[in-house]
């Protein structure tokens, strides 16, 4: 069994999650401060990929990044770089599809943040950067972790947009999901089943990790508040 699709899926998901983490946090933080109308508009645009079929996202990305399209042509001309049909093209697709999950989870947890803590930090002379990284982010860590894990899990399974922008080339752009489809289409049922089982195993492990993280956090909270009452 050639493990390349597993390796490829994991690295695409990891790279995309890394970018989505920062993009999601930045968007959630800055958009919350915008005037209502602009906030509402951006909210709709940024959440759209969540409800659009991934193939539509793939189509739009191809229109943007294809070798004869605006961005694609520019990169081809200046860097001799083709943005589509490589393994890392899938990263673009996955970022766009997965971004709303991170953005919405983080925004919800930022909204639950007690702004008084930020004011207290400011009056104590702490810089806004310090307050953001050392007070706001730790306060919202549950939402941040949940968003990242969700994003990673969804990134691993992305099929529609990935298949359009990266295609399926064995040993190059193949991911688990495109491999399963390809194997089933070519009547290689036994191998397809193996990959399905691998996929189920990974997803189960991820969900297990999420549950453990939640339990651990609940336990520490309980211990703290229990002592406070005593």
């Amino acid at each position: 069994m050639d493990w390349y699709p597993l390796y490829n899926s994991l690295r695409i998901a990891a790279i995309a999650s890394f970018f989505v983490f920062f993009l999601g946090v930045a968007a959630a933080y800055y958009i919350a401060k915008l005037p209502r109308l602009l906030k509402g508009t951006l909210d709709v645009i940024l959440t759209l990929p969540l409800v659009l079929p991934p193939t539509v996202v793939g189509y739009l990305l191809l229109r943007l990044l294809g070798p004869r399209r605006v961005v694609g042509a520019w990169f081809l001309e200046h860097f001799d770089l083709r943005l589509v049909m490589t393994w890392w093209s899938a990263v673009f697709a996955v970022i766009v599809v997965v971004f709303p999950l991170m953005y919405r989870t983080v925004r919800a947890s930022f909204e639950s943040f007690d702004e008084t803590l930020a004011y207290a930090g400011q009056t104590l002379g702490l810089s806004n950067t310090y307050i953001f990284w050392r007070i706001r982010m730790p306060y919202c860590r549950q939402g941040l972790i949940a968003g990242t894990v969700l994003a990673f899990a969804r990134a691993l399974g992305e099929y529609g947009a990935t298949s359009m922008i990266a295609g399926y080339t064995p040993g190059k752009t193949a991911t688990i999901s495109t491999t399963v489809y390809q194997l089933w289409r070519t009547d290689n049922d036994a191998l397809a089943l193996k990959w399905v089982l691998v996929n189920i195993a990974i997803s189960a492990v991820i969900m297990l990790v999420v549950n453990m993280l939640e339990k651990k956090d609940l336990l520490t909270e309980a211990r703290r508040s229990g002592k406070a009452r005593a």
Binding site: L117, Y119, G121, T123, Y139, K227
Partner: protein, 340 residues
């Protein structure tokens, strides 16, 4: 050292016009009912909110000036702010909470200063605890220790005891007064509780619906309140319509004329503090209409026998019980009657 505030800010339909001066080492109470703009004033002083126009100055240092377009961020104002719920950082230990506000000095110096604050505020042994593990009193001490460790030139207290039961409140109040007693800078104490202000502050600035009265020594709030709202905040519960008449002072709601000649003119209301009411030997005969048992005495609602059904009652807190229907001959101490 003094804190000078003269600002204006609109928030929707609400307009704040605050003008006050707090001197160093002399706690100034900002007293007013909920929603009168006390907290907004504090937030403007601290730099959390920006006024629309005006001037804020601390110890000769301009913090905000709309004409000169000066608006220092809260970080540069050196003003400590004690929030209602203390706003301790939940992810940091007691020690880290205190350390993070200390800006100057090397690592060793900072640790030493933090240790000194921990000793001074009797927090020894709690250094590694998280805020959620502390009692309300300990949290207050950590919050104060953190503020004073950051070296503020003025301290603002925003209703420090609003969410506490009365016994705990009293203990924390004693402690807070003690901890702040040596603070040399201006202290602005926001509260809606006149007793709390009286016990802890020497000056008071009464605030109502966004406007400040002039700053006065706090005892004057009780000896000669400047306005109806000041009298109300000082604990006066009786406000009767009153007008000057040929034979004395007429109370039109009761259709009664008292043999009193107030020195003032241009008033329409008489404020009667409880201490102004002499329960017997007076000429005003009032009927006891209701008796309400209170914690340490009785509240009597009194009115002339033939008064209209809509006429207001005089509320009198009596140490001894009286029966409903009884008639009392009341007199007034004229030095405790105020006219607005």
């Amino acid at each position: 050292m003094s804190l000078i505030v003269d600002i204006e800010k609109r928030l929707g339909a609400f307009t704040l016009r605050a003008e006050l001066e707090a001197r160093g080492g002399e706690a100034l109470a900002l007293l007013g009912p909920s929603g009168c703009g006390k907290t907004v004033t504090l937030k403007c002083v601290a730099g959390i909110l920006t006024p629309d126009r005006g001037h804020i100055e601390l110890d000769g240092r301009v913090l905000y000036d709309s004409k000169d377009q000066i608006d220092l961020p809260p970080q540069e104002r050196q003003i400590g702010y004690l929030f209602q719920q203390y706003a301790l950082f939940p992810n940091m230990t007691v020690e880290q909470n205190i350390l993070c506000g200390i800006q100057r000095g090397g690592k060793a110096e900072k640790a030493e200063l933090a240790a000194a604050q921990i000793r001074r505020f009797r927090l020894g042994g709690l250094e590694k605890q998280y805020p959620a593990q502390l009692s309300g009193g300990q949290q207050q001490r950590v919050a104060l220790a953190r503020i004073l460790a950051s070296g503020p030139q003025a301290v603002l207290l925003d209703e420090p005891f609003s969410a506490l039961d009365s016994f705990l409140k009293w203990n924390l109040e004693l402690e807070l007064g003690e901890m702040l007693s040596g603070f040399p800078g201006p202290l602005l104490w926001v509260s809606h509780d006149v007793g709390e202000c009286r016990r802890n502050c020497r000056k008071v600035c009464v605030m109502e619906s966004g406007n400040t009265d002039p700053v006065i020594p706090i005892e004057e709030l009780f000896t000669r309140p400047a306005s109806r709202s000041a009298a109300r905040l000082a604990g006066c519960k009786n406000f009767l319509r009153a007008e000057r008449a040929a034979e004395g002072l007429r109370l039109p709601e009761w259709d009664v004329t008292l043999p009193l000649q107030p020195e003032q003119s241009g008033f329409d209301t008489m404020a009667v503090f409880n201490a102004a009411i002499l329960p017997d030997g007076g000429e005003l005969s009032l009927r006891v209409c209701r008796v309400i048992e209170d914690v340490d005495g009785y509240i009597l609602l009194l009115r002339p026998e033939d008064a209209a059904p809509s006429a207001p009652f005089l509320r009198f807190e009596s140490p001894v019980p009286h029966a409903v229907g009884e008639t009392l001959g009341l007199g007034f101490r004229t030095d405790k009657l105020f006219f607005f």
